[in-house]
């Protein structure tokens, strides 16, 4: 299958929601270790809202759908990660404006805009132990795969693999932003909660496309 239709995008968002619900307590724990422990709650809130919006939306413009989903998330979960994830969807969606179906290159463009949005909103760089350390390599890997005309599932598989590596690398970094930064050197060696949530997003997107292929 070379393109994803609206149902696939809606299923993708649903898959992210399910993952967040499953991982709620895990994310709370990760965030509580060096933050305020809210990440599990806010990610669930954000993606429940996105899912409810997407499932009931009449839009056929998938870019607009993703953008609106992002705006819904911004209202539902205005925490750091809620806002960053919302910004990612808004910018990613904007990059796909007008599209009623989505191919591998579109997914790569979505991820690139997502990462760029986070970078700008968070005033951060790669290497600061944030979600960007997952989203940026994921976008780069997705672009490479798309350049080879790979289909959506393959693009997302490449993105997920790079995300996973980025997530591992981020572990070794020292946090520079948010509550984690107050822990300075102590943050080194620990998984970054936001990076973990980012990894879950990409893995859930891949999972949704894969399970569709199987069915």
């Amino acid at each position: 299958m070379d393109t994803l239709c609206k149902d696939d995008i809606v299923a993708m968002i649903r898959a992210i929601r399910s993952t967040m619900e499953e991982q709620r307590d895990h994310l709370i724990e990760l965030d509580a270790a060096m933050g305020d422990g809210d990440l599990g709650l806010t990610m669930v809130k954000a993606f429940v809202a996105a899912d409810e919006y997407a499932a009931s939306s009449d839009l056929t413009d998938l870019g607009k759908l993703l953008m609106q989903a992002g705006m819904t998330m911004a209202k539902a979960a205005p925490s750091t990660m809620g806002t960053l994830a919302a910004t990612g969807f808004m910018r990613g969606g904007k990059a796909l404006a007008g599209k009623e179906s989505i191919d591998g290159a579109d997914l790569a463009a979505f991820l690139r805009a997502f990462a760029a949005g986070i970078k700008e909103r968070g005033k951060t760089e790669v290497g600061n132990k944030t979600i960007l350390d997952v989203m940026h390599p994921a976008a780069t890997a997705a672009e490479q795969a798309a350049a080879d005309a790979v289909a959506p599932a393959g693009v997302l598989a490449a993105a997920a693999a790079a995300a996973r590596t980025g997530w591992e690398e981020a572990k070794g970094m020292q946090a520079q932003h948010g509550r984690q930064a107050y822990y300075r050197e102590q943050s080194i060696g620990k998984a970054d909660p936001g990076a973990t949530a980012g990894l879950f997003i990409i893995q859930a997107m891949l999972g949704a496309v894969e399970s569709k292929e199987k069915s």
Partner: protein, 336 residues
């Protein structure tokens, strides 16, 4: 979790409903959203609007400083959560009277991003917005990295001075200048004795041993400088105060206002026991105490603990600090 609540999910909403029906002459809300709190009554033409915002669980922060001679609006988030950019934007529109709006808020990632987004939305509607981010917790980042410091109770002084300045119908630039100056002259440090419980989570946010304290801890349980055995009130102040005073530094001949703040569960009696040593040490350094605010100005639900803020005054700040002010949470008759 022993709390006066209904459904934990509705905690913030129930609280806001309580606040709005308790103080209808002073506070109201806009956009049909209780999270968007603004001062009741007509806007004053030509007055700069001042907005703040932040998570719930810190009363009287943040909405408690919306009032006469203080702020004009506040976007209220969930417990320890930023409000949304949307809510900030609604407050911004509601309080702008054409003279522009100043955002004053604490240095937290979520809040910054959302206020940034709200400022972008406002600029699209031709509302001029300036921002002052308060960060005065010396325990949260070393000197030289002031930009990384958390904003805590000391933001009260920024609100008070900016509010008084805006009341003079000063321009947005002038109000911002005063707010920046106030923010540059306040330093804070806190100490925690026991954790708080977020209603929706239902269990303590962190743990401290039976006889432990954490010096420098933030109001969301952010790590401090040192965790150790609980010491005497005198020893605690002797550890906390010098880093506060030495940071600007505040020195002999300076005049200050001191804010001795309780984090929630600590009795006023204990705050005065702490203040006794603060006073002695400040006076010993040849610093003059203009006035003292003691009570709960920025809390963390039922956390037991305290923070000390010292605000270095000059004639301008002293005059602005001394004007009368009135909100449901803070009233002050003119000083002097």
């Amino acid at each position: 979790m022993k709390k006066f609540i209904n459904d934990p999910k509705n905690f913030v909403n129930d609280m806001l409903e309580g606040i709005l029906c308790a103080h209808p002459k002073q506070l109201t809300h806009v956009n049909d959203d209780r999270h968007c709190i603004v001062k009741a009554g007509p806007k004053r033409k030509g007055k700069v609007g001042i907005a703040t915002g932040g998570g719930s669980g810190h009363l009287p922060l943040f909405l408690g400083y919306v009032g006469e001679g203080l702020l004009d609006g506040c976007a209220v988030g969930d417990v320890f959560q930023s409000p949304s950019s949307d809510q900030m934007f609604e407050v911004t529109k509601a309080i702008d009277s054409g003279a522009g709006v100043l955002y004053i808020y604490g240095n937290y990632g979520g809040d910054i991003m959302n206020f940034d987004m709200a400022a972008e939305m406002a600029s699209m509607e031709d509302i001029r917005v300036e921002q002052v981010v308060a960060g005065e917790d010396v325990a949260s980042a070393p000197k030289g990295e002031e930009g990384k410091r958390r904003g805590v109770a000391g933001i009260f002084f920024v609100y008070k001075c900016a509010g008084a300045k805006a009341d003079e119908l000063a321009s947005l630039d002038e109000v911002k200048r005063v707010a920046d100056k106030a923010a540059a002259n306040v330093r804070t440090m806190g100490v925690a004795l026991s954790p708080n419980i977020i209603p929706e989570i239902g269990k303590p946010q962190f743990s401290l041993g039976e006889n432990e304290m954490e010096i420098g801890m933030g109001i969301h349980g952010e790590p401090g400088i040192r965790r150790g055995e609980l010491r005497s009130a005198e020893e605690i102040v002797q550890e906390m105060l010098p880093p506060i005073l030495d940071d600007i530094p505040i020195k002999k001949g300076d005049e200050v206002s001191i804010l001795m703040n309780g984090l929630g569960a600590t009795p006023l009696e204990e705050l005065y026991v702490l203040y006794r040593t603060v006073h002695r040490m400040v006076v010993e350094r040849g610093i003059a105490v203009f006035n003292v605010y003691l009570g709960e100005f920025a809390t963390s639900l039922e956390m037991a603990g305290a923070s000390i803020s010292v605000f270095r005054l000059d004639d301008e700040l002293k005059a602005l600090l001394s004007t009368s002010a009135r909100s449901p949470f803070f009233e002050q008759l003119t000083i002097g």
